[in-house]
């Protein structure tokens, strides 16, 4: 049996996935769906919620079974568990909204190979009790969904002049077609990353100045 880490569940367990360890903007994990399906805000939301569901369910199950899974075959076991939940989501979405299902295509099935889920399973769910795993996974999933939405809304806003299918700019707006095409995904994500890097840099510089003031 592996040693149990007894961390208390705090607000941080939940919140760090959303901001400080955001899977997309900080860890750069699960890039494929991030870039591929975020051409509209609706698609981003559907993808985010599906991933959130798979992430929470599979990690809770893995956490429950963590004492029974032999160490040597753990990765294969995780993958099979994840694939089971993805198949469920695949069929549910097909029944609930055929339009969104058609737009997302094979990317729902590709949630299986989203490194965020396997990464969480390996680094958190396999060592922590069920409840804190659920909280942590929910935070990570929300962080992922949020990042997708941030990307998807920008791309839809500039690429089609609408948000969730509702026109925003009026008729005279000339859409930037490139935004909803593949290169737009790279550009928008790159721009967000540059923005965050600039913000961190500014904060760090301010901290240095304040230190100097206090010292002087």
């Amino acid at each position: 049996m592996r040693p149990e880490l007894t961390q208390p569940i705090t607000m941080d367990t939940f919140l760090r996935g959303i901001w400080r360890e955001n899977p997309v903007f900080v860890a750069l994990l699960g890039m494929c769906p991030v870039l591929a399906v975020t051409n509209t805000a609706t698609n981003s939301l559907a993808m985010g919620v599906s991933t959130l569901f798979v992430l929470v369910c599979s990690n809770v199950l893995i956490s429950m079974l963590r004492h029974f899974i032999p160490k040597q075959v753990r990765i294969a076991t995780y993958i099979v568990i994840i694939a089971t939940f993805v198949t469920m989501v695949d069929y549910i979405l097909q029944a609930v909204s055929p339009v969104v299902y058609a737009a997302l295509g094979a990317f729902i099935q590709l949630i299986v190979v989203n490194c965020i889920i396997l990464g969480r399973a390996e680094s958190y769910a396999s060592k922590n009790p069920v409840l804190s795993t659920a909280v942590n996974a929910a935070g990570m999933g929300l962080g992922f969904a949020l990042a997708l939405l941030m990307l998807g809304s920008v791309r839809e806003l500039f690429g089609m002049g609408s948000l969730f299918g509702v026109p925003v700019f009026g008729d005279s707006f000339q859409p930037w077609l490139v935004m909803i095409l593949p290169p737009g995904g790279f550009f928008v994500l790159g721009a967000w990353l540059l923005l965050f890097a600039w913000w961190r840099e500014r904060k760090a510089r301010k901290a240095i100045v304040e230190d100097a003031v206090h010292a002087g």
Binding site: M31, C32, I79, V80, V113, N114, P182, P183, F186, L193
Partner: protein, 193 residues
């Protein structure tokens, strides 16, 4: 789809709908291993090999699953096949080229979670390719993946020598570069028809 010539299937997967730059599959290794030209090209070769093996096995599996009408097991069985193919390549490489094995490091087992590999298996099933078309498709996808990886590695080797602003160092700039590459690959779209 019946009747697509093998050349078209190959070119379509390699250039027109490049797996990395047009379909966003396999972005993780694309950003992770594209630092050096040599590692990039060997990573491309290893991935192509895995793609070929898993594509051929996926074709056989699909026939089997369809004949028993248990298609809902498709995803689970595909991923199991891919994981074993990666294990096979890993063992072979460890035996015959230990240096390369160490250079690729953690990214070698991660081919399992490379969505490009699972993507090939899923798309060839969705497009109902026959056996030869499936082989051409997987080879094309591998060639396209290698091409994107090598191009990116070349660019990043040049980038090492130039001075960029502090905030742009790292992932942000790589993504902008990828965007430009992707933009230039859109020029091939006319070939598809």
């Amino acid at each position: 789809m019946q009747g697509e010539s093998l050349t078209f299937v190959f070119l379509n997967a390699a250039i027109i709908n490049n797996f990395v730059l047009a379909m966003f599959l396999g972005i993780c290794p694309f950003l992770g291993v594209s630092g050096k030209l040599k590692t990039a090209s060997s990573m491309g070769a290893a991935t192509t090999l895995v793609m070929l093996i898993s594509s051929v096995s996926a074709f056989g599996l699909n026939v089997l699953l369809t004949s028993f009408e248990i298609e809902f097991l498709r995803l689970i069985s595909y991923i199991a096949v891919i994981a074993s193919a990666v294990q096979l390549v890993e063992m072979t490489m460890k035996k015959f080229s230990p240096g390369l094995f160490r250079a690729l490091g953690i990214y070698l087992p991660l081919i399992t979670t490379n969505c490009a590999v699972l993507g090939v298996a899923l798309f060839q099933t969705a497009k109902e390719y026959d056996f030869l078309q499936a082989v051409a498709y997987s080879l094309g996808a591998g060639a396209g993946f290698t091409l994107a990886l090598v191009l990116m590695a070349g660019l990043r080797e040049k980038l090492e020598l130039s001075s960029v602003p502090r905030i742009a160092q790292g992932a942000g700039l790589s993504l902008m570069l990828a965007g430009l590459l992707s933009l230039s690959f859109m020029g091939f779209a006319g070939l598809g028809g």
